[in-house]
Subunit: 222 residues, 2 copies
């Protein structure tokens, strides 16, 4: 409420893209994922990238603005992978198993990005204080909704094909994404369980949970 | 790093209990749950309780301190309910179903508290800046670990009894709690689904997921 608003007549700043912006996103993802969003100082991200605060502002108005863009990129990444796997496979049961395994096929940076996403997803529900931040928040939130919708319609079609027992597709989407995404709350690379093992464990539980018969959509040999 | 530290020689403040403290916790839970932790102003909580900032400091050093105590209370509540249900029932399969249904038997304030807990659980992993905050964080974090451990040993005993197929108890604990707790990320009272329906849906999925045979530990009539 107290944050200053830009004058409405001001021309929106250009949204620069390119290598520098990607570098800021990667460094911020590392900091947010490793140290937590709240405990990361925006100035430390700038210093690690080697950029001054005026130049940094050109790309992101604030730490929060950068967070929304990271979340948007993460969701866009999931969406692209989901579309690629499901559009190329008319067998929904097999495609679903592929989608689930694919959710664990990640680089260390992508794991950190997922951790940021699940840790801070609540912020997507709360209005931001500046127009530029708010635009980034709304973009990320609608992308998240689009992906949930795509998941829901995909599950509905799979049930229509008889791939597994009929259930409410919206609740099933919540449950399946809730189960799979919960991994990123606790998983840390190099500690306790190798990611391959976690993937096998969770995908098997998810298959059993929704009632995908054994042998359907077996994991492809790498 | 920049936060001021209390001098080491200072006597720790007494930890007051009682009605006023409970009232602050309830009001803060409502604010954090409804508006989000980051977007709640600590001064607004004080105003809603009708307490000055000096008196408020007597109970909680900061918004963050209060958050840790709310999380600790939430976990303590789960723990007490878990212990009560499981200690009175030698049939682990039936007790587990009771525990799962019990996780949805909540007041509106408890639902908000769960939302705060799942939204901010990441903060439990990050060292706090003052000794009083840090003590509250460590208390909440160890309670969370104790509860996970209790859950894990309970599941291990249930598998030992042959209640459902053998799996790694630690990963199974993560998965089961991940599935059940994920509800509080999206559930809002009065919107989309009644909580009873959500409870039936999730408990049935969880039973199927771990392989509890149908008919075991059926929900008791209210």
């Amino acid at each position: 409420m107290t944050a200053p608003r830009e004058p409405r007549t001001r021309k929106p700043a250009a949204r620069p893209r390119g290598a520098k912006r990607d570098r800021i996103l990667d460094v911020a993802t590392e900091h947010f994922g490793r140290d937590g969003f709240e405990d990361t100082k925006w100035a430390d991200v700038a210093a690690a990238v080697g950029i001054g605060s005026t130049a940094l502002y050109h790309y992101f108005e604030s730490k929060q603005h950068c967070l929304y863009v990271i979340m948007d990129c993460a969701i866009a990444g999931f969406q692209a992978r989901f579309d690629k796997i499901t559009s190329g496979n008319p067998d929904h049961a097999a495609a679903l198993v592929d989608v689930m395994y694919d959710a664990f096929d990640l680089s260390e940076l992508e794991i950190l990005r997922n951790r940021v996403l699940v840790a801070e997803q609540g912020l997507l529900a709360v209005r931001a204080s500046s127009p530029r931040e708010e635009a980034a928040r709304v973009a990320a939130r609608s992308r998240a909704r689009d992906l949930e919708f795509a998941y829901g319609t995909f599950l509905a079609r799979a049930m229509e094909q008889g791939a597994f027992p009929e259930r409410d597709p919206k609740l099933l989407t919540h449950a399946l994404l809730g189960l799979l995404n919960s991994v990123w709350h606790w998983y840390r690379p190099g500690r306790s369980f190798p990611l391959d093992e976690v993937a096998d464990f969770y995908v098997e539980l998810a298959r059993t949970m929704i009632g995908l018969p054994p042998g359907v959509g077996l994991r492809k040999a790498a």
